[in-house]
């Protein structure tokens, strides 16, 4: 296989397999969690499940009163990383072309100069959270090998993507192969790691708000 053949495979079957595993894996994991079920609440309610659950999905995106230094760092670094990542993912022209091939429609892209910045911002934020994970005694106490694995899986497509846009040490094609491989590995890994929080966060927040809302509590 030469580089062109590898690229063709990665863009064809490789992409299909990884997207399928990503989507089916996330659906499977979500359904698996939900179907454990919970017992019906027999206590007379003082509120409801639905709307308080929805409200908590929104409220937990905000700083709460009493947010500490650790909280501010976590939230700000978290937002910075996610925004940088999502803008890079959804507004680079080449990415949009890929989405068009899957979804059948496209949207306007941002200039490469801006994507350069958003990618670097996401990388910088990831480095910051890694340092925080190693240095902060609380976060370090909670850290296991999966946290480092998830970090490597996440930063790899960003770095290889940046290299593909700015080929220095490698050729464009080599960098592109590494980029697509790392992205496909990430897609496959998401459902099996803590990265599946991309779906479960909304359900968890909803449950929290709903469990409280039933009792007439704001959460």
């Amino acid at each position: 296989m030469n580089e062109i053949e590898i690229l063709t495979w990665l863009r064809g079957p490789g992409l299909q397999i990884s997207v399928a595993l990503f989507a089916l894996g996330l659906i499977f994991r979500t359904v698996q969690n939900l179907t454990i079920g919970m017992s019906k609440n027999l206590a007379e309610s003082k509120g409801s499940y639905m709307m308080p659950g929805m409200a908590t999905i929104v409220r937990r995106s905000l700083f709460h009163p009493g947010t500490t230094h650790r909280g501010y760092f976590t939230m700000i670094a978290g937002y910075t990383f996610h925004i940088g990542l999502l803008v890079t993912l959804f507004f680079l022209e080449q990415h949009i072309l890929l989405f068009k091939s899957i979804l059948g429609f496209a949207w306007p892209s941002l200039p490469p100069a801006i994507i350069n910045i958003t990618a670097l911002v996401a990388i910088a934020a990831l480095i910051a959270v890694l340092l925080h994970r190693i240095m902060d005694p609380v976060v370090r106490k909670l850290t296991d090998y999966q946290d480092f694995l998830a970090w490597i899986l996440t930063i790899a497509p960003l770095i290889t993507g940046y290299l593909a846009m700015h080929p220095i040490a490698t050729t464009y094609q080599t960098a592109l192969i590494l980029h697509i491989v790392s992205a496909e590995v990430l897609l496959i890994a998401i459902p099996f790691t803590k990265l599946s929080h991309m779906v479960s966060i909304f359900i968890a927040r909803w449950y929290n708000g709903a469990l409280a809302g039933y009792k007439g509590v704001k959460s």
């Binding site: 079920g37 206590a43 908590t56 937990r60 009493g66 609380v138 106490k141 359900i203 449950y207 509590v217």
Partner: protein, 424 residues
């Protein structure tokens, strides 16, 4: 790898039963950010990372991973997963029972939305099923089942208190009155220590024209079963109240000034016994505020003392009763001031969730009271009003420990009774 030891086996079986859709979703969502640490007074006051709320759930997380997730099951099947051990559970007993009051503050700040307290409540079921519960809580549980009260308070003690109250009041305190609208429960501490509560409710209900009664077969509102995490025993205690209420054919049962009693009776009770109640449950604060709104509870005079209100966790953050006590205090207090973090965000007294009943937990409980001390130092009050006899004891002990016992601690119901307008 090695098979789990026998107590760990029992814990695993109990935890598998406890893990439900919310629990699995919460564990799936945790990104190990540590923001819950700053919501827990056991962490903030000691700065020891072992008190991070989500860390207290590590063994339960392992069980979830190994029994419920694809990777975990694969690793377990391949013999690569380490099962939880007897020693691990022994070590965690201190974290789950001595250093968590189920106060619920962590559940309020988790950016993922994890209700950590909900999970710790469940973890305790697994710990207790495997025998890993503090001996003091086991003893309290035994007294509650055998004697009807975790503190060993008997019907004779209650009757003696009623007699005292009747002498003071000059009229009868209703007990076992068939067909009354309300049946009042009390906490052991109210019967044993806070003697002012029976005269206070008697006077308030008389002035408001409320038809009520005590019940000789069901007067204890507390429930050690939900603290230790023994649902079967907790259910038995709830059944006693249901039987008493059904026998007297009351419409409503009143939960006393006690945090976990309200949680046990109002929110967990029907789920513990597996059927809805044939009566309603209200907290005494809800009832008093209703009576106030209906114009049936009138007060006269105002108290000029600078005072604040300490929200019991299970009543405010976990129970939803935040406005009512403030409405009531507003009637009688001229100089009321809230602590900066209050209501849903109030800091725990340090002794809820069974911690106060666990003697070996006392030194740390008093140590972490420094959080409440800071809150109080900020507002400089002369009196704390609260609505939980356990909080009240914890506040008094904490204030004494920090030489702040110039601050008085009182119950809300008795405060209202003190200013009751009985002329109407």
């Amino acid at each position: 790898m090695s098979a789990p030891s026998s107590t760990a086996h029992r814990a695993i079986a109990a935890l598998v039963e406890q893990i439900d859709a919310p629990t699995a979703t919460f564990f799936t969502s945790c990104v190990h950010c540590g923001m819950c640490a700053d919501a827990c007074l056991f962490y903030t006051e000691t700065q020891d990372p072992k008190y991070i709320p989500i860390y207290k759930l590590l063994p339960m997380r392992k069980v979830w991973q190994q029994e419920f997730t694809f990777w975990g099951r694969l690793m377990k099947a391949a013999g690569l997963a380490k099962p939880i051990t007897h020693e691990e559970l022994d070590e965690w007993e201190e974290l789950v029972f001595d250093s968590c009051t189920l106060c619920g503050r962590c559940s309020l700040v988790c950016p993922m939305g994890n209700d950590i307290t909900y999970m710790i409540r469940k973890f305790r079921e697994g710990m207790t099923a495997a025998g890993h519960a503090p001996s003091d809580l086991k003893a309290a549980m035994k007294r509650a089942i055998e004697l009807g009260s975790p503190m060993g308070v008997s019907l004779a003690t209650l009757k003696a208190q009623i007699k005292h109250a009747e002498q003071e009041l000059g009229y009868e305190v209703p007990i076992d009155k068939q067909g009354a609208d309300y049946m009042m429960l009390l906490s052991s501490a109210e019967i044993a220590q806070f003697h002012e509560i029976i005269p206070a409710v008697s006077r308030i209900f008389k002035a408001a024209g409320v038809s009520w009664t005590l019940c000789s077969e069901a007067f204890e509102g507390t429930n050690t079963g939900i603290q230790i995490g023994a649902s079967d025993l907790a259910a038995e205690l709830v059944e006693r109240i249901v039987a008493g209420a059904e026998k007297l054919k009351v419409k409503t049962v009143i939960s006393p000034e006690c945090g976990h009693a309200y949680m046990a009776l109002r929110w967990e009770g029907p789920n513990l016994i597996g059927r809805p109640y044939p009566f309603k449950v209200v907290h005494i604060l809800e009832l008093l505020d209703d009576l106030r709104q209906q114009g049936k509870l009138k007060t006269k005079g105002k108290d000029a003392t600078r005072m604040t209100y300490h929200d019991p966790c299970q009543i405010a953050r976990r129970g939803g009763i935040v406005e009512q006590p403030r409405n009531l205090l507003n009637e009688v207090a001229q100089n009321f001031v809230d602590m900066e973090e209050h209501g849903e965000f109030n800091w725990c007294c340090g002794g809820g969730g069974g911690v106060s009943a666990n003697e070996r937990a006392m030194p740390r409980r008093l140590d972490v009271f420094s959080r409440k001390k800071k809150q109080l130092d900020d507002i400089k009050v002369d009196r704390i009003v609260t609505a939980c006899s356990n909080c009240r004891n914890m506040l008094e002990e904490g204030l004494e420990h920090y030489r702040m016992d110039n601050i008085e601690v009182v119950g809300l119901t008795e405060t209202i009774a003190q200013y009751l307008d009985e002329s109407a």
